[in-house]
């Protein structure tokens, strides 16, 4: 009796791991691009969560003895103009990028879903007014709308999240409205209405769960855009403020260093090799933005 029970307890545990390995292997064989993507995201999230353990230096500690160094065994990607380790700042920057990306795409997609489904449920005048308003927001270029919101609220982490959320809401509302429109005529929605449920309950409990598929697609699609937008905003100097590590800011710093060294000196090329190795460090940040943004 006990022997059989031990068998049934231990066997599934092993085979489950095997099955997991097999599934992973098959997925990698069939969709190599997806597998590479998944691996990269895994590493990114791990780096962001474990930043304190992975990074060897303090991202904010300045050291004037090691300003603008080329990559070495101590500083793999070199140091910036304040003597901060570039690799450390890239790792901590992934924290900023991921947090802002996830927060704003989640907020944007959720708000958009609420607005889209509500407008589809009520139809008529409410639908018309909401849709016209969304059209208005849609005719602004993405980054311009974000800029207006940043100048409205000022820069800083929370405000940047909000600034990226605002332009995403209408785009998401548009898509989710169209998939919710077909839901409205479904028998179960009619049944819920016949049972006397109010609009809030029908929208939240009956309609929203049924638009989860397009919702998740929009959420992941916006995640990449949000990270890029965050980088653009910090690159313009309107996003996250300086001592904090953000990829756009690091690229901006590199460009400024480069311009300052070069233009006044009449394009002096003696130091260009060193500068190039130095800038290469920050370009590693540039390489990571794209990788991460294509989840």
């Amino acid at each position: 009796m006990t022997r059989t029970s031990v068998k049934t307890l231990t066997l599934p545990a092993v085979s489950r791991f095997d099955r997991w390995l097999e599934t992973t292997f098959r997925f990698t064989r069939q969709r190599p691009l997806g597998a590479v993507g998944a691996a990269i995201i895994g590493i990114m999230i791990a780096a962001a969560v474990l930043a304190g353990f992975v990074a060897l230096y303090d991202p904010l500690a300045t050291d004037y003895a090691t300003m603008l160094q080329a990559p070495s065994s101590f500083h793999w990607f070199g140091t910036d103009s304040f003597g901060r380790d570039v690799l450390t700042r890239i790792i901590y920057g992934s924290r900023t990028a991921l947090w802002i990306g996830f927060a704003s795409s989640f907020l944007g997609a959720t708000l958009g879903a609420l607005i889209g489904v509500t407008s589809a449920y009520f139809g008529g005048k409410i639908d018309l007014v909401l849709q016209r308003f969304m059209d208005l927001l849609l005719s602004f270029p993405l980054i311009i709308l974000a800029l207006v919101v940043v100048s409205l609220l000022g820069s800083g982490m929370t405000n940047v999240i909000f600034a990226i959320t605002v332009p995403m809401v209408p785009r998401c509302a548009l898509v989710l409205r169209s998939s919710a429109l077909t839901l409205r005529e479904m028998p179960f929605v009619e049944a819920a209405r016949a049972l006397g449920f109010g609009p809030t309950r029908i929208i939240l409990r009956h309609m929203l769960p049924n638009v989860m598929a397009p919702y998740l697609i929009m959420l992941t699609a916006f995640l990449g855009q949000a990270i890029l937008l965050e980088a653009s905003l910090s690159f313009l100097g309107l996003g996250v403020a300086e001592p904090q590590a953000a990829w756009g800011l690091m690229l901006r710093g590199a460009a400024v260093d480069f311009a300052e060294r070069h233009q006044p000196l009449g394009l002096c090329f003696q130091s260009s090799r060193r500068l190039f190795t130095r800038c290469f460090g920050s370009e590693a940040a540039g390489v990571m933005i794209p990788i991460q943004s294509r989840l």
Binding site: L33, P141, S232, G286
Partner: protein, 306 residues
């Protein structure tokens, strides 16, 4: 079209009035002089900022109907002049970027569809995903760095009109156009690939092949013509955003275009300028939408607009 423009105008007008800090204070703060309250009030009255909001709005919209866009509150020059000197650069850059995007995306997308699931297809897909993901400002910085370091050459820093000196003009604008065009080709490439794939499975393609038509004729005359409609829509919509949305690229390449003017005007609280720019970009957006509809109707006789 006109109600949308009016809505955009009203939205941006009231949004700007909510932003803290006004242009008069910023002007004096920038000059670093102490200004008594009366001077500030006088300045505001001169700009018409002491009027009630609805009146300011009415005056501004009234000017629009007479094609009078007013003067920039910051520089005092007419807005048509300020925008005019930058519009040529922005439009040219947008046109070049779109042209490059088409040149990259249509052949590559078609190639990927024809050679589906071979290494060519994989290469094209990776190439286009990279374009989607790489920020154009990073690509811009890399292009500039490569030129400075390996060729010891820098694109000219001041804008010369194409009609004055085409060579100088192109040698300045081709690089930002490449950086932006590559990025914008990504979506179009993927779109072309998937629509061509879809069309190639149609019956009339099989018929064309069965009657022994030359493969190139099948592809170009039968497949591409039908596959390109959604691609044109995508490219058209992107063109509209290129005119006003190249804020970051213009910063990287130090170009004095509409995007840069936008950022400056917002940070200076130059109300009239921001309002006019927003209306301008929305107008371009709506107009290009209209053009895209027209082109689609031309290419596909089944599409009819009432």
């Amino acid at each position: 079209m006109i109600p949308t423009l009016l809505g955009v105008a009203a939205l941006v007008f009231f949004l700007l009035r909510v932003v803290p800090g006004d242009i008069v204070e910023l002007k004096y703060a920038g000059a670093g002089v102490y200004a008594p309250k009366e001077a500030l009030a006088r300045e505001r009255a001169q700009l018409g900022l002491d009027q009630p909001l609805w009146r300011q709005f009415a005056v501004w919209i009234g000017g629009f109907t007479r094609l009078d866009f007013g003067t920039s509150m910051w520089t005092g020059r007419p807005i048509t002049y300020e925008i005019g000197i930058r519009l040529e650069l922005s439009i040219e850059l947008a046109l070049m970027a779109t042209f490059i995007a088409i040149l990259i995306s249509v052949p590559l997308g078609t190639l990927a569809a024809v050679k589906q699931d071979t290494w060519i297809d994989y290469f094209v897909r990776i190439f286009s995903i990279a374009g989607l993901a790489i920020p154009s400002f990073w690509l811009g910085i890399v292009i500039i760095l490569a030129f400075v370091i390996y060729f010891r050459w820098l694109p000219p820093l001041t804008f010369t009109s194409f009609w004055v000196d085409p060579k100088a003009n192109l040698s300045q604008l081709i690089w930002p156009a490449l950086a932006v065009g590559y990025r914008y080709s990504a979506v179009a490439t993927r779109m072309t690939r998937s629509t061509v794939l879809e069309v190639l499975r149609e019956d009339y393609i099989r018929t064309a092949r069965a009657k022994g038509l030359w493969e190139r004729a099948v592809l170009i005359r039968h497949a591409l013509k039908n596959a390109l409609l959604p691609v044109i829509t995508v490219i058209g919509l992107e063109f509209a955003f290129l005119v006003g949305g190249l804020v970051v690229t213009e910063q990287v390449f130090n170009l004095n275009g509409i995007g840069k003017l936008f950022v400056e005007a917002i940070s200076q609280r130059d109300y009239t300028m921001v309002q006019s720019l927003v209306v301008l970009t929305s107008f371009v957006f709506i107009f290009v939408n209209f053009l895209v509809d027209l082109i689609n109707a031309c290419l596909d006789p089944r599409i009819r607009y009432q």
